[in-house]
Symmetry: C2
Subunit: 260 residues, 2 copies
């Protein structure tokens, strides 16, 4: 496929590299910032452009990987070419494109990308959606050239996935940061927690989370929870986080046991 | 070393196996429940007992791996032998033992253990504390026979570590469970999130969490956060969790950037 990438951020970078590695031709990389476009374009053997007027209409597909609130305006500018346009956003409706361009789809990689770390794209769940069966099939075929985990997911489901990903990724990372701050305040190294963090994530690769839940909340160990809240007496925000997450675990644990 | 294990739960099981694999002799395994004692004793070639009167005083060290609130009463019963007694608890003071038995220490493995999954004990951070330098050294030597990550940690620091572990392990696992419930409610499979969960934990193995924080909160993307809260309109408890964790990430992100 002849593919043009709109954007030069984390998602654009990893998606463009995956397409190139699969043998597709990346024609152009567009970014408002020419240097960013040039850096990614260099890596994937494409032309860098910072002016959307210079879009080459030879592309079979435009892949928009920009901030959610910029998708509509980019799609509006690309609609003149009447090509297939897809976005890569979990939180954005397919309608954002279809209202401007009839050939539309979604290509949502459900993974957290950062430029500091390689990702095995073959393992990345790719959630695809097309405006009709033909486009859905076309996107599925394209997705299978870069991932072993391709799923058809409609816009309503994709929004739930995006929300769930916040709970499963962004919030846990925020909790890692809190734990790191508690350690730093007491001259303890974050390295002490790293094996625990990894093991916690590895355990749910083959188990249901509530089956492997540990800690004072799931045991309803009120003495330990009270001691922990006491240690946080100068940190009311952390006390609140501790209380409501513990309550949630206690409640889920009780329901989970009732289901057994 | 001749070691007796008091307890037959997750920690007792993994610690006993690590000692045995390192060539130590497990003399006895005690549990109130004889069947549990027998199961673990069988695996580590020890005698199973369910009566603390039958303790063999030939042990060099008693390792108490029972519920926190049972440590003191067990230590009181073992004190008659005047041997080294250590507990394995993150939340329990060394004084809980020293007030009953002068030869006392702590041997706290900072990992989440479950009987369903093997753990590479060499990677487990072992936090040790002794009532005096000689015992501390003795415990450090013992610890180094089973782990490459041995740390001297006092009781005050250990309590912080235990609290931090709740934020870094128990709460993230609870959030995985919430994410799984959101998916199940919309006929989506938890497998879609598993690579994301693993990658999130892997990213902080070589990075500081706030440097790799992603998602709407760290971007202060108010539109997406409002849409997510809207999706949770029937789940007030999840809305509250979403709000306070997002606020925490926004605040930490701002402070982190100010530090740069």
């Amino acid at each position: 496929m002849y593919i043009t990438i709109i954007g030069s951020g984390n998602v654009a970078t990893h998606v463009a590299a995956a397409f190139k590695n699969a043998g597709h031709k990346i024609i152009q990389v567009y970014s408002r910032n020419y240097q960013n476009a040039a850096l990614l374009a260099y890596h994937v053997g494409a032309e860098a452009i910072d002016n959307i007027e210079k879009i080459d209409p030879a592309a079979n597909i435009f892949v928009i990987a920009v901030k959610d609130d910029a998708i509509a305006q980019i799609a509006a500018r690309l609609a003149v070419h009447q090509k297939l346009i897809v976005h890569t956003s979990g939180a954005t409706d397919l309608f954002t494109i279809t209202k401007l361009n009839p050939l539309a789809g979604v290509f949502y990689p459900l993974q957290t990308f950062s430029k500091v770390k390689e990702v095995d794209f073959w393992q990345v769940p790719l959630c695809i959606e097309g405006v009709n069966d033909q486009i859905t099939q076309q996107l599925e075929d394209l997705a299978r050239t870069v991932s072993n985990n391709v799923q058809r997911v409609n816009s309503a489901q994709r929004k739930i996935l995006h929300l769930a990903a916040v709970f499963a990724c962004n919030f846990p990372n925020g909790l890692y940061a809190i734990a790191g701050q508690l350690l730093a305040q007491h001259q303890l190294d974050f390295d002490l927690l790293r094996p625990l963090i990894l093991e916690t994530a590895q355990k749910v690769q083959n188990n249901v989370p509530l089956d492997v839940q540990t800690g004072p909340a799931i045991r309803n160990d009120e003495q330990t929870m009270a001691a922990h809240l006491d240690l946080l007496s100068n940190e009311p925000q952390l006390q609140l986080i501790y209380k409501i997450l513990s309550q949630s675990i206690i409640k889920m644990g009780a329901e989970h046991n009732a289901d057994k």
